[in-house]
């Protein structure tokens, strides 16, 4: 997938665990894992908004475009 989700880095910076973020955002840890491992096909704006609110960051800090080789 050309869009990379850099949640691990931001979670480490904020000192937050994955399950804590999942609970705040209102998604399951399984879904968060799908997001982190790059298996997600799509993301709802509502989810992106909730993550940005929880991590106090911009969408650009979480999402990164990496050209497929």
């Amino acid at each position: 997938m050309a869009i990379r989700v850099n949640l691990d880095r931001i979670l480490a910076e904020r000192g937050m665990k994955s399950y804590e973020l999942a609970e705040i955002v209102g998604i399951t840890t399984a879904n968060l894992s799908i997001l982190k491992t790059g298996k997600a096909k799509a993301m709802r704006f509502s989810t992106l908004e909730a993550i940005c609110k929880a991590l106090d960051c911009q969408p650009g800090a979480i999402l990164e475009y990496v050209e497929d080789l």
Binding site: I27, I34, K41, R44
Partner: protein, 169 residues
């Protein structure tokens, strides 16, 4: 889902009461018609004065009809298998898509071949050339076969949509 339970029960009933004895009867008939060519009258629906001179040809046609009957029974078996997936709430399993496609092309083949065989048998054994227009069981079989193939494609699209939905966070 009550409708699914009723459908599965009906198909199971048809399978047990009709298809299993039909398999045995057809297998027996396949051998019997070589022993007693007069039995061809049952399949070819003509009298013995017509069948007798053409018994080899008649046996070949009868064999083809029996083969097509076995293919139809196999289609019902595949449909039963597919309904089992529906009962397990796995409607978009790859086997369901494959089974629908298989049922489709087999039924299409049976429809086309049976209609051709009927025309040829009428021509060879009765000397008449008949083409059935309008509501013909063979045309309906062909349509049903094509419908199953279309259904397979639709389920394939649905499976992709479901996977995309499952991986939407």
């Amino acid at each position: 889902m009550r409708k699914l339970v009723i459908l599965k029960s009906l198909i199971d009933f048809v399978w047990i009461v009709t298809c299993i004895p039909a398999i045995a009867l057809l297998a027996f008939f396949t051998v019997y018609m070589f022993i007693e060519p007069k039995a061809l009258e049952l399949i070819l629906n003509t009298d013995k004065s017509v069948v007798a001179p053409f018994s080899m040809v008649g046996q070949l046609f009868a064999l083809l009809f029996i083969a097509l009957a076995f293919v139809s029974i196999y289609c019902l078996y595949l449909f039963r298998k597919t309904l089992r997936y529906f009962q397990r709430v796995k409607p978009f399993h790859s086997d369901v898509i494959a089974n629908f496609y298989k049922i489709g092309y087999l039924l299409t083949g049976v429809g086309v071949l049976t209609s051709l065989l009927v025309v040829i048998v009428e021509l060879v054994f009765k000397g008449t050339f008949k083409i059935y227009l309008g509501l013909s069981p063979y045309l309906m079989l062909l349509c049903l076969g094509l419908f199953f193939m279309v259904l397979s494609e639709v389920f394939k699209i649905a499976k992709v949509a479901k996977e995309e939905n499952d991986l939407t966070v």
